[in-house]
């Protein structure tokens, strides 16, 4: 079990078996992956320019994120982390909100109405159980929405992972656990996180379905996620998916990976790039040409630039708003502290 990850597209873009998606849909997801990469690189640059706080890149993980969310419906939940901007955006959380979040402006946390995406979890592992809760609520309310939670290989070492998986197993909640095993938790490699042969193996102990998938393969990720989503929606419970991918960049902009890993891994995984392999496939199907590439690149670049302008045009919050969003109503003791801040010379 879990000996070979499921693959639908080889790194050369050759299709193995049948495609789970029509070409037009693959073109749409390809464009979404491009947008995610434009955003990711833009944020790294902006952080270097001092325009954003610490930023966690997800380059290389676009297929894991876009492919997973592509299997969802609008009413489903996405509960992710600071490295899951691609997934959050593709489920409706605007780039401008994500950028605001990285400038330290909590207004970024205000997802548009009807967008069931939680803000990125900053504590490692604490959010997975929330996706058990949102899924549980769906069942109690009698709607058929499911919940997708994304996390990394490092998060599976937290006790929180155990409690979330255990609850999802015992109560058969419609939750999809999407582990993007990118090989690294800051400087700690995957083999220092767990002695399990794969992370997917852990599904057996919790009595839930499990899957091992090539995380850089958009079609394979979509396929296993769609199966998991269908099972969850049919009341058959949770799935743990391990998507094998690679953290091409540092942990965050505060990190220098050259101090703990050689460039070999990066070079090896660059050959398995999730975007390039879909491009090759589309080209072989006659569904890609350089003109279209230039067109969508410019579209996505504009989309991200517009979001940056919108975020930077917003008037910054003042000290007066320090208690904003703590409670539904500001209680008297905080109103008093607010008055002290106003009196500050």
């Amino acid at each position: 079990m879990f000996d070979t990850p499921l693959q639908r597209l080889t790194p050369n873009g050759d299709l193995l078996g049948e495609s789970p998606l029509p070409l037009e849909e693959i073109r749409r997801l390809y464009q979404a992956m491009l947008s995610a990469r434009v955003y990711d690189r833009k944020c790294s640059v902006m952080q270097r320019q001092g325009r954003l706080a610490t930023y966690a890149q997800f380059e290389g993980q676009e297929a894991s994120q876009i492919g997973a969310v592509a299997a969802l419906r609008k009413q489903d939940w996405v509960v992710g982390t600071y490295r899951d901007a691609g997934a959050m955006w593709f489920h409706g959380y605007p780039w401008v909100n994500l950028i605001l979040g990285r400038t330290g402006d909590e207004r970024g946390g205000r997802a548009p109405d009807g967008v069931n995406v939680t803000p990125p979890s900053i504590t490692v592992g604490g959010h997975m159980i929330h996706a058990v809760g949102t899924a549980w609520a769906s069942r109690i309310k009698g709607d058929d929405s499911v919940s997708l939670t994304l996390f990394g290989d490092g998060a599976t070492s937290e006790g929180d992972f155990h409690e979330a998986m255990n609850f999802a197993g015992v109560y058969k909640t419609p939750t999809i656990f999407m582990c993007q095993n990118n090989g690294w938790a800051i400087s700690m490699p995957r083999d220092r996180q767990t002695a399990s042969k794969t992370i997917a193996h852990k599904s057996i102990a919790y009595g839930v379905a499990g899957a091992l998938v090539d995380g850089n393969d958009l079609l394979a990720v979509y396929e296993v996620c769609k199966q998991a989503v269908d099972r969850a929606r049919a009341g058959e419970g949770a799935t743990l998916i391990e998507a094998l991918t690679y953290r091409m960049g540092p942990h965050t902009t505060t990190d220098d990976p050259s101090r703990y890993r050689t460039n070999e891994g990066v070079e090896e995984w660059a050959q398995k790039d999730p975007i390039e392999r879909v491009r090759r496939y589309l080209e072989s199907e006659g569904a890609w040409d350089p003109a279209w590439q230039a067109e969508v690149e410019s579209e996505e670049s504009d989309r991200v630039e517009t979001a940056v302008s919108e975020a930077e045009a917003l008037t910054p919050w003042t000290a007066d708003e320090i208690f904003e969003g703590m409670f539904a109503e500001i209680p008297p003791h905080l109103a008093y502290q607010q008055s002290l801040l106003r009196r500050r010379p």
């Binding site: 909590e106 159980i129 929330h130 809760g133 969003g325 409670f327």
Partner: protein, 343 residues
């Protein structure tokens, strides 16, 4: 229409009335159904004992296993799941069997429940209630006897409630369930059997409004939860010698009704705070600091704190009895203040 109910039954009634009125209210916790929570067929739901103190007894037959959920032993699990369910529109009331088990759930309360509205820019509510059981005096030893009010009060974004009477327990719990933000509702295990006159109909007591339990002109005694009753005992003893103490029960620690406490201190000029918790960084030090900061010029003597020891709650009965503040220690603290004035 009121009748006599104890704290345990008043809490049960509040849960029952709010669950009947609002089907978004669900209960989760370890053994909260008790015995019958595990299986639809056996044992019969009517036999469910409702947790170690029987507080939730009778709710399973009324509302079913979908809404009265016996969970696996995992505080992170059910507190976290409740947070997720609250974000998705439910109003979960979870029970942490003993406040001492806070350690295994604290990340969910500290970094999630308390901060999610904030990081959502105010857009999302996390309307959970965490009911938990605190207090010494039950011969329950170091890991089942703490109070820990201040750990929760210290965290911005949490509301902290600790009723001392059955009437307050019902009204404050109803407010907690209806509140759009996370509320920590601390029940004292030694107060469960205390009777009070409790109205039959549902009613909500607002947070941040202290109760003046007894009026007096000579000294203000602020009691923390069970210590309210000990303070009243002390006030009765002092009264025999013509010393009239004003006893205040803040009822909620976040928000805290500082106004009522300060007005009383301004009137009496003396303050004693009684808290069975450990003395450092406690509600006792918090309320003492409040008076020292805002009512210093009204004080006619040093503020006194009567607290438990800065030690684990002892298992040994004589040591546990020595740990818990009693009326005699409060009387001594008041006399100490008055004597200092005489000198």
């Amino acid at each position: 229409m009121t009748r006599t109910l104890n704290v345990k039954d008043a809490i049960n009634e509040a849960l029952r009335q709010e669950m009947a009125a609002d089907n978004r209210v669900i209960l989760m916790g370890e053994d909260i159904a008790g015995g019958a929570g595990r299986d639809a067929d056996y044992p019969p739901a009517a036999d469910a004992w409702g947790g170690p103190f029987g507080v939730t007894q009778g709710l399973l037959p009324l509302f079913g296993r979908e809404r009265v959920i016996d969970t696996a032993i995992a505080e992170t699990g059910f507190v976290g799941a409740a947070i997720g369910a609250a974000i998705a529109g439910l109003r979960p009331v979870v029970e942490i069997m003993y406040v001492d088990f806070i350690g295994t759930s604290f990340d969910q309360l500290l970094n999630h429940a308390a901060k999610l509205r904030y990081v959502y820019g105010g857009k999302v509510s996390v309307p959970i209630v965490v009911r938990t059981v605190a207090g010494a005096g039950f011969r329950a030893a170091a890991e089942h006897s703490q109070t820990l009010y201040s750990l929760y009060t210290h965290v911005p974004g949490l509301k902290v409630v600790a009723p001392a009477t059955a009437a307050d327990a019902k009204g404050l719990l109803i407010s907690a369930i209806r509140d759009p933000d996370p509320v920590i509702f601390i029940e004292h295990k030694r107060l469960y059997m205390e009777d009070d006159e409790v109205p039959e109909e549902p009613y909500a007591i607002p947070f941040g409004v202290a109760r003046i339990v007894r009026s007096g002109r000579d000294v203000t005694i602020v009691g923390v939860q069970k210590m309210v009753h000990t303070a009243v005992e002390a006030a009765t003893l002092l009264s025999r010698d013509g010393i009239e103490a004003e006893v205040i029960d803040p009822r909620t620690y976040s928000p805290l009704d500082s106004e009522t406490i300060l007005q009383s201190v301004e009137k009496t000029g003396r303050l004693v705070v009684v808290d069975e918790s450990h003395p450092r960084c406690s509600l006792a030090t918090d309320i003492a600091a409040l008076a020292a900061d805002a009512a210093f010029h009204s004080l006619r003597g040093p503020i006194k704190m009567v607290t438990g020891a800065h030690a684990p709650v002892p298992f040994s009965p004589p040591l546990e009895d020595a740990y818990i503040p009693d009326a005699a220690r409060i009387v001594a603290a008041v006399r100490d203040q008055l004597d200092k004035k005489a000198r």
